[in-house]
């Protein structure tokens, strides 16, 4: 068990290092002088030299990487060029809306997806199953930005129910401004929730113990909620954790569509202004979220599954 934990954590550490290395390498892959590209054509040679020194780009590569990683670890990844502000404070100002949006999307996907998956798994091949398949396929093929636009047109501009853009803090404000993007985000994730949950439920439902429980006089409702879900939920959570990257990507686009001042729109600004330190930091952070969440999901799965927990499986 501990062995498995250690190995799994080791993989995550290697992944995190890989993330940092890739993000770090990007700035050095910029054709020509990255500082000149960042500062624009009007920058004087003195300004370029100063910025180069400030970014430490004149130091040996190993040194640079070392301080890059240290900066990330110590929570002080440096200074943004465009905003002339510490990156840490830039991000912390904008993290909440992004975080809330992701949660909103997850909640929508789970709340809508679970009943769809459960009912289609209980009657596979039935009308409901087919309908769900069609619905999730369409939801999947729907570009988030376009769906966002159409919903904004409908509920914002025509019906005036919800704001079309911007973000208001406070509970009600946040809910109102995040509902449209949250629903769109949730719909794009829906197909993943429904497919994985349905598949793992089918697997459990066809297991012999389900038959045996019917023989014990248990209702389908009890079997599904008390027994099948127990076994089927964990794989779904793992898949969701792995797909948090997909959610983050969706957030980046939707924050832009709905002009929500989150980390996604910050990334966008940074890309437009070639603010490489900010781009690097956000890229590593986003990757780290995915790595850490899938690590946690794997460990949680190991903990939840009695066969693993008690060391029956030596991974």
């Amino acid at each position: 068990m501990l062995n498995y934990f250690a190995r799994r954590a080791g993989i995550a550490v290697v992944q995190l290092l890989g993330l940092a290395l890739v993000a770090f390498a990007l700035i050095h892959l910029v054709p020509g002088n990255p500082v000149r590209t960042m500062l624009g054509a009007r920058a004087t040679p003195e300004q370029v030299a100063a910025a180069t020194r400030r970014l430490g780009l004149d130091r040996p590569l190993v040194d640079q990487f070392g301080s890059f990683v240290w900066g990330l670890l110590s929570g002080n990844p440096g200074q943004s060029i465009t905003f002339a502000q510490p990156i840490a404070s830039l991000i912390s100002e904008r993290i909440l809306p992004s975080f809330l949006l992701i949660c909103y999307g997850l909640v929508v996907a789970i709340v809508v997806g679970t009943p769809l998956a459960v009912f289609s798994a209980v009657r596979p091949g039935g009308a409901f199953d087919h309908g769900t398949r069609l619905f999730t396929t369409v939801a999947f093929a729907m570009p988030t930005f376009w769906l966002g636009l159409v919903l904004a047109l409908l509920f914002g501009l025509k019906l005036h129910w919800l704001p079309v853009a911007g973000y208001t803090s406070g509970f009600v404000g946040a809910i109102r401004s995040l509902t449209l993007p949250g629903v769109v985000l949730g719909l794009s994730l829906l197909v993943i929730v429904v497919r994985t949950l349905r598949t793992s439920m089918r697997k459990v439902l066809t297991a012999e113990f389900v038959e045996a429980e019917r023989a014990r006089g248990f209702s389908t409702f009890r079997i599904v909620t008390r027994h099948v879900m127990r076994s089927a939920v964990m794989p779904t959570i793992t898949v969701l954790a792995v797909n948090v990257g997909f959610l983050i990507g969706g957030t980046v686009v939707l924050e832009q569509v709905f002009q929500i001042p989150g980390v996604g729109s910050l990334l966008f600004l940074a890309v437009e202004h070639r603010d490489y330190p900010v781009v690097e930091t956000i890229a590593v952070m986003a990757g780290a979220v995915v790595v850490v969440l899938s690590l946690l999901a794997d460990l949680a799965q190991a903990l939840m599954d009695p066969r693993v927990r008690l060391g029956a499986r030596t991974v």
């Binding site: 113990f209 045996a212 019917r214 023989a215 248990f218 009890r222 027994h227 127990r230 076994s231």
Partner: protein
């Protein structure tokens, strides 16, 4: 079959179970008639695929999704099972009929402690509260000889041995004091010593509670040891049924005879035994549509056999046969019925059979029953 004084506990008449096949429905059970009387032990033998499990499951109408069941009568204590609502059916299950499955591992929820699984059955069916159910579950575990029930209560299925798991499954099945226990090959997945213990346990529970037992086995030795009556199934039909003693001493149907000659003659424990085997293959499901399903493998087959109506006909009290050819011969010369015609019919003095018959009503102890098992 004679109509007994009391109405049968479970009764099936012309039970048919069909599956939707590529070209129309395919019958897996094609007109089985069977009854289990209160307190008796009925054995069900037959080759793999003959429909034993489906027949068992019809006692609680627990059939695969795509299966279609029809019957002239399918009743429990006179109540029509086909007329039960979902709710009534759930009440019928576990309370009236407990079921033990073949594989004791896959029939338990791997993510739940075994004690809780017993307790849950009690809470659902006997309406007990949490602590009462727990108490009763512990008693049940003791009843089925699970040592240290307090500790084992908290175990997960994978932590127990096959025999222990099967005891848990039995505890679940009998926890609501059913009048009928259906055990579908309860020992096939277990090793020899454990098989004997589980059979002894079933025997003891049956005697203590007086419930009836429907026991499926491939093994005529087990049937002989455990049962009062036996029904032999072949190709979706009951081809012969009757008191174990008379079916054993004077098997009528050519399939039963072949089956009896195929069981190993057990000389003594540990010695290798030879099986004669029945030449040929059992019919594929839906292969034979008319007449007797045993025609391709029967040494007595006649042209008329392909058109006969598969109906059990009583030959002697309680002993019925579906093969008109052997029935006729038996009626003509009842004395020689036992060794009429079929290839390698077991002689009356078959040692294994006699050994089995002798212990018939004794409670088998672990060592005593051991040598009755097939290797």
């Amino acid at each position: 079959m004679t109509v007994g004084d009391a109405p049968p506990l479970f009764c099936a008449r012309q039970l048919r179970i069909a599956f939707a096949g590529a070209s129309g429905p395919v019958e897996a059970v094609s007109g089985v008639s069977l009854e289990v009387r209160s307190g008796e032990v009925l054995g069900l033998v037959g080759e793999s695929g003959s429909g034993k499990s489906l027949t068992c499951r019809s006692t609680i109408r627990l059939l695969p999704h795509r299966a279609r069941l029809t019957a002239d009568d399918l009743s429990f204590e006179g109540r029509d099972l086909l007329a039960l609502s979902d709710r009534e059916l759930r009440d019928h299950r576990a309370r009236n009929v407990g079921m033990v499955f073949q594989d004791p591992f896959s029939c338990l929820d791997p993510t739940m402690r075994v004690g809780e699984q017993i307790a849950e059955t009690l809470r659902v069916n006997a309406g007990m509260d949490k602590s009462a159910a727990r108490q009763r579950a512990l008693e049940m575990m003791e009843l089925v000889d699970i040592g240290q029930p307090d500790r084992r209560y908290l175990a997960y299925p994978h932590e127990l041995s096959g025999g222990m798991r099967q005891r848990v499954a039995i505890a679940i099945a009998v926890s609501c004091r059913p009048k009928l226990l259906v055990a579908d090959e309860p020992t096939t997945a277990l090793d020899v010593t454990t098989q004997a213990q589980i059979l002894a346990l079933l025997q003891r529970l049956r005697q203590e509670t007086g419930m009836a037992l429907l026991l499926v086995s491939h093994d005529f030795g087990v049937i002989a040891q455990m049962c009062d009556r036996v029904a032999v199934m072949y190709g979706g039909y009951v081809v012969e049924s009757g008191p174990v003693t008379s079916v054993y001493r004077a098997p009528l149907h050519p399939y039963t005879r072949a089956l009896l000659s195929a069981i190993p003659a057990i000389e003594s424990a540990g010695k290798r035994v030879r099986r004669t085997g029945i030449p040929g293959q059992p019919p594929g499901i839906g292969e034979i549509l008319t007449g007797c399903p045993f025609v391709p493998r029967c040494t007595l087959a006649q042209t008329a056999c392909t058109t006969i109506d598969m109906k059990l006909q009583e030959v002697s009290p309680g002993h019925a046969n579906a093969c008109p050819v052997t029935t006729e011969a038996a009626n003509a010369s009842p004395v020689t019925a036992g060794d009429n015609g079929a290839r390698s019919v077991p002689p009356a003095g078959l040692p294994g059979v006699n050994a089995a018959m002798d212990v018939h009503h004794a409670v088998p102890s672990a060592d005593g029953a051991e040598h009755l098992m097939q290797p």
